[in-house]
Assembly symmetry: C2
């Protein structure tokens, strides 16, 4: 495994695999073996068949999507978690699994500067580890519907009565969560011109008109760091509206939230004291392997009332005492592994200082690339926020041509984007192995693809 990491760090393997659909399926047997095989064979086959078909998200030149981080501490914790093999659906089914999660989500809330009400120690709210920001927003939606309906929703369903609000820039998971929750499409709130940020007045007006039409406004989802351009919704103004209207405010800071570990980016959390729930993906930008989304709420009673179901086979004295947290009531699944060990190891192995340095390092790399783009004729920097850089060429045709050429280059990965209706190229830093040399390499490739593609064709790209 360490040899694999070294090969990634040295860029000795490509980022993206060169394989056609079906190549692994045809290479493997069509039925499971009847008799046991050795673990050595499996490891060998992993590197022979599987690894060459992977896109390496930890590769320094992986700049696609938003990062999915990792670190040796995270990997070790996954091993220990798997080896212990406990199931922490309730406090009573492994007390330490639950309490460790309370401890580390409180630690992280403090490190991120979240309000006291989001900590278990407050007695009002607390954090819980979900698999993804998608699950976090779905869980928040359930809590919001429960609160907005004063409990009616649990038995009666959504009945076409409740409304959820976001902008078109919200993550796809917000739309998916709204659909899964039986609300159909969310109500789209306009953005302030040229910013991608939700217009709080437009939100207020829509809530007013929906109430007049007999709907129950239940949930607003604001985004801190949209996936397309890393735009930040004006949470303080949105939060005040939500408090006035008694509408649940969920803040999705899946990517950008981690930056608030650093005092210089703490302003990303302005207004967060007005939110009812807040989620950040530690697996995006906190050196923690996926899955590890952390959802906090300042109203855990609404959440657990929304989610709880207690058949006879789950009854136990600790739950009945009301003195413990049962995380089954903070998520969709009943069962759950011990989720907190990974975050505990990562926070200790890096220290909060180390996590801040990682964020600053990645932002520094984005700054470097942004400067190179700005200085280059024929290139236009469209977005430069935190670790995200988006750029285009002079004409859309040239940009599309560059995107196509980049997609055939296995040595780096950028993903396509659309900014202001125009095609663009998107690069987000986050690999633990990326450094200044990575930026130089990536930029040289991009520039050559754009300006002198024949040179790369000659090397078989």
């Amino acid at each position: 495994m360490i040899a694999h990491w070294q090969a990634l760090a040295a860029r000795e393997v490509p980022v993206t695999p060169q394989c056609a659909p079906g190549s692994l399926r045809t290479a493997l047997p069509s039925a499971a073996p009847e008799q046991p095989e050795s673990l050595g064979e499996m490891l060998a086959d992993t590197w022979k068949f599987v690894v060459p078909g992977l896109t390496h998200w930890q590769h320094p030149a992986f700049l696609g999507y938003f990062p999915t981080n990792n670190s040796p501490a995270s990997v070790l914790a996954e091993f220990v978690t798997a080896g212990l093999g406990v199931q922490g659906m309730m406090w009573s089914t492994s007390p330490a699994a639950t309490e460790l999660e309370q401890v580390v989500t409180d630690w992280l809330a403090q490190a991120l500067g979240l309000p006291e009400a989001f900590r278990h120690s407050s007695g009002r709210g607390g954090g819980v580890i979900q698999d993804s920001a998608s699950s976090a927003v779905l869980v928040a939606t359930a809590a919001a519907l429960h609160r907005a309906s004063q409990g009616r929703w649990r038995a009666a369903g959504t009945e076409g009565r409740y409304r959820m609000y976001c902008t078109e820039r919200a993550h796809s998971s917000v739309f998916k969560g709204c659909r899964i929750a039986g609300l159909g499409e969310p109500q789209l709130i306009a953005t302030l011109p040229g910013t991608g940020r939700m217009d709080p007045d437009a939100l207020g007006a829509r809530i007013d008109s929906d109430r007049k039409d007999g709907f129950v406004p239940a949930l607003v989802v604001a985004t801190v760091g949209t996936t397309d351009t890393c735009a930040v919704d004006p949470v303080p103004d949105i939060g005040r509206r939500c408090r006035q209207e008694d509408v649940w405010l969920h803040v999705d800071a899946a990517y950008a939230g981690s930056a608030a570990l650093c005092p210089e980016y703490r302003h990303l959390h302005d207004g967060i004291d007005l939110a009812d729930s807040y989620a950040v993906n530690a697996h995006k930008w906190m050196r923690t392997g996926t899955p590890c989304d952390v959802l906090w709420t300042s109203d855990s009673a609404a959440l657990t009332d929304a989610m709880s179901i207690a058949p006879a086979y789950l009854r136990n004295a600790a739950t009945d005492s009301g003195r413990v947290v049962d995380f089954r009531d903070w998520q969709v699944p009943l069962g759950r592994p011990m989720r907190a060990l990974k975050l505990w190891y990562v926070m200790r192995a890096h220290g909060v200082q180390g996590l801040r340095e990682a964020i600053r390092h990645d932002i520094g790399l984005a700054d470097r690339l942004a400067r190179l783009i700005t200085a280059e004729p024929g290139f236009h920097l469209e977005v430069h926020e935190l670790g995200l850089v988006i750029f285009r060429r002079d004409t859309d045709e040239d940009t599309r041509d560059l995107i196509s050429r980049l997609q055939t280059d296995p040595t780096l990965l950028c993903t396509p984007a659309t900014v202001g209706g125009r095609p663009a190229v998107r690069a987000a830093f986050g690999s633990p192995y990326a450094d200044a040399d990575t930026v130089r390499y990536v930029w040289e490739r991009i520039r050559t693809h754009a300006q002198d593609p024949e040179q790369l064709s000659a090397c078989g790209v």
Copy 2:
């Protein structure tokens, strides 16, 4: 880790921890460290603070709930998965992660005798790994609503129009999924007297009357192996009704489904060809660590149409070609780790034959305990199905007394149950370390708790 497994196998550690609520929280620092700490410190603290506060689900005398299995192959695979650190939301974001999942879910479908239509190789359906049976039923609900509404649900929500059916014996996750999906409470179908099995005529009558009342019947959830008594709904009769009525049939076989690996229990899958989706928890009874639920559908188009959302930043040539599977559209979350490696390792390390032997071994232990109970005056065997044994004493007071005493005994874990309205004790076998000696030990403890509690009090229990 191996020393820990040896200690469990030898019963040198208790099953349940002796700790009061809050003991771990008060033992750990209230804030994360600023500076890095060593991995060695974390491992030491894990065994010092965390392990003593865990309920050991792999302990041979853990007979609570249904098992959550494990094996060295599963643990190794988690380590490799974490080390590779890829994210397989789409084929293009790690082709081998997606194709390996297609291969192993096809392998398992074949090993379980599921119909051809549930395999990716059929071109109609296929399998996907979810975190839990809870998520599986929620995903099936979305597909059912999409199909029943002919697409209307995606935009319009549930509108109070759609109905879901199950018995009161269905798992709590069925009720939770129904609630989360915005349907409120499911419609409860009566069971055939004294069996706990759904009455297909009652189901048909309810569907008829709901249609007359203007509702749209969308989904029936049948259970193969209920959590309370391991009852099996009559899937062939239910399936025929569902086909006639064009209602989606989801079969939840979370626990009992694994037994169908053995020809002598294959009848558990009778009628499964009439189901639209089917789920089994490999992490329950297939030596695979949690989370690993496998959901299959024979109508993958309905599932992916229900779930898909494709913003610009997720566009890619492979998806556009229609030649690949993108598992983001088979689940609630967008992101996902490489989920299949674990099942691949486990199926190869044990071979299908080895997995069958494990099932037979566990059922054999349940048979032993059942015989001991039957032979003992004052004890009554209530349920004996597969690896599950439920029993009571002569009077409810004696049973409650036994339950209380067992809950104070850290050397074994049975959970309380209610059968026919009467309290009972529930024991489910599944630990890889349990053997005939475990049964002897557990039975001696139970008998002594019931008949000669002073003897145990003397040893401090």
